[in-house]
Amino acid sequence: MYKFIISIKKEFLILLNDKVGLSLMFGLPIALVFLMTIIQDSAYKIINENSVEILISNQDKGTLGEKLIKLIEDSKAFDIETDNSLNKENTNSELLKRDKLIALYIPENFSKSMENKAELVSKKMLQDLGLSNNATTNNKQVNVGIIFFHDPVLQDNYANSIMSLIYTFLGSVEQTLMVEKVYNQMGIDNPKSLEKTILKNKIEIKKIVATTTHNVPNPNSTQHNIPAWTIFAMFFMVLSLGSNITQEKNSGSFTRLKTTPTHYSLILISKMLVYIIAALLQVVVIFSIGKLIFPLIGLPDLNLPSNIGAFIVIILLSSMAAVSYAVMIGSIANTPEQNNGIGSISIMIFAALGGIWVPLFALPDYMIFISNLSPMRWCLDGFYILFLSDGGFIDLIRAFISIILFIIACQLITFGKLKHEKLI
């Protein structure tokens, strides 16, 4: 036991002396977690929280253009700048000049066109119901549409969403106008009560985040980046631990180790244990930053999952997977340079595939399929199940099995390689 304790002490001292390795294990991920969360949080806020800046040129001679603008304004989803001096041609260029994402051009005959359309429909409706025999409906309508401009950086689906929102407002204006026209044609002066009834009795859509329980915070950039970059930091230990192994294999001390009455597996286990402790320390440091420092600088607070037991297990398994991978690369590589090359490139690929840099849903289908090959994805899936859907052990079984199989595979390859080279 004393031998084991001293081996752990030696590995710990060597790690403490490895300033570059420590900065890669702690400094780099901390910098990345800050940087990526700030960047993604800004993007998240643009989409989810900030109102969309819109430039409106209202050339309408009637009142419906104003009514539409009022509805857009009341929605609080838009930051409106109205400039009625703009014509159809220069609205486009002004949108770019004034750094807006969207511009609306409401044409001169907008109200007239809407009213004509409403009148036509209402007459037709009364006629069909046998309440009017006036056959003088004018089927020739001038359809004067609104023009929607958008910045080319705006993605199609986002632009379509905004258009749909404006269609909704337009529909609301149309609906009210239609009721007015029907009532007018029937000789009823005040259709306001019906208008209010229609508005009050809209079918509501209830928005719920899909989770397995009911105590989950909304996903945000912190909930993604803290676990994601912690996993990245764990796997990036391949540079420090892998180099440690290759350096030792190539040094005279390894020759001496082979002459001692101690099996190399004890030394390897000591190394793994020290680096698992280092990985747990990474979790503590990075998660503390998310919990304690992020709120102080205006970033979303990190909400820890309610199932702490499952959380601890996924942390332990992830750190064991990272350490096993590092040991495997260290045993395969012949030199520290080889280790660093293979290690860093493979980690970058795993991270890119595993949804560390870009959330998986943003990847095309075939990449999502390929991402199943990344151990970082299995680890991240585990964290997502806990952080975003508040899952428990049952929900984590698939992630657990994948990670455990990965650990076993890495350990077997390491054993096979060291045995083949007669190092153990």
Partner: protein, 244 residues
């Protein structure tokens, strides 16, 4: 009382993977307990290979090695390789503690032997400094200290004095003499023939993996009518370079 055999080597050969010649070819050798035994030869002769097989770092291709001592032979062998075999990021104390523990010594014994070694090797003042700040001579002394912390009965040294100053060489050789007087069998390789002649009582001379002579230095000098070990060495191995 006849000398007790410490290591008995029979028909030992070694061929490395993909090599088309034997690095060691049918070596037969007996080393007695208490010997100061020199393994000599030109570069590439097979000295390090022989020592590595004795230490169980390398397996032999054929032949056998029998040790006179019973028990776990790894516990009884001390090895001082030609390369620095320690962790330069650590201090001498930390290295002694680590390797001492790997040789199954307890904490108290390690502490006592560490203090003794630091004193004998003149490393007391730098015992808490990292070894990567040390001179070549100091590193050689640490290298030796680690090899003897478990007080081995057989000590194998591969060129222990290469690249060190006269003072360090003197300290190392003096310590080896003291160990030998206390019963440790010493097997050592060196290119310093004068040093070997002064230190060893018996030698083996190897060239191209083959044993070309083995006896006490005295007998060999008489037999080959050589004035010293260097003359004998040139006489038996020639003056050709061993670059390939």
């Amino acid at each position: 009382m006849p000398p007790q055999i410490c290591i008995d080597i029979k028909n030992l050969s070694k061929r490395y993977k993909n090599a088309n010649y034997n690095s060691l070819d049918n070596i037969n050798l007996s080393i007695n307990t208490g010997d100061k035994f020199g393994v000599l030869g030109p570069n590439g002769a097979g000295k390090t290979t022989l020592i590595s097989i004795i230490c169980k770092i390398l397996p032999s291709t054929s032949g056998s090695i029998h040790f006179g001592h019973k028990g776990n032979i790894k516990q009884q062998i001390g090895f001082v390789p030609q390369d620095y075999a320690f962790y330069p990021q650590l201090t001498p104390i930390q290295n002694f503690e680590y390797f001492g523990a790997l040789y199954n010594l307890d904490k108290k014994t390690i502490k006592a032997r560490t203090n003794n070694l630091l004193s004998v090797l003149g490393l007391e003042k730098v015992s808490s400094q990292k070894i990567n700040t040390f001179s070549g001579g100091m590193k050689r002394r640490v290298n030796l200290g680690i090899g003897i912390i478990h007080q081995p009965t057989i000590l194998l040294l591969d060129e222990p004095t290469v690249g060190v100053d006269v003072q360090s060489k003197h300290a190392i050789m003096k310590l080896l003499d003291e160990l030998n007087q206390n019963g440790t069998t010493i097997i050592y390789t060196s290119h310093h023939l004068a040093e070997a002649e002064e230190f060893c009582n018996s030698i083996i001379l190897i060239d191209h993996g083959k044993m070309i002579a083995s006896d006490s230095i005295e007998n060999l000098l008489i037999k080959h009518q050589s004035k010293d070990l260097q003359s004998l060495f040139i006489q038996l191995t020639g003056t050709e370079y061993r670059d390939v």
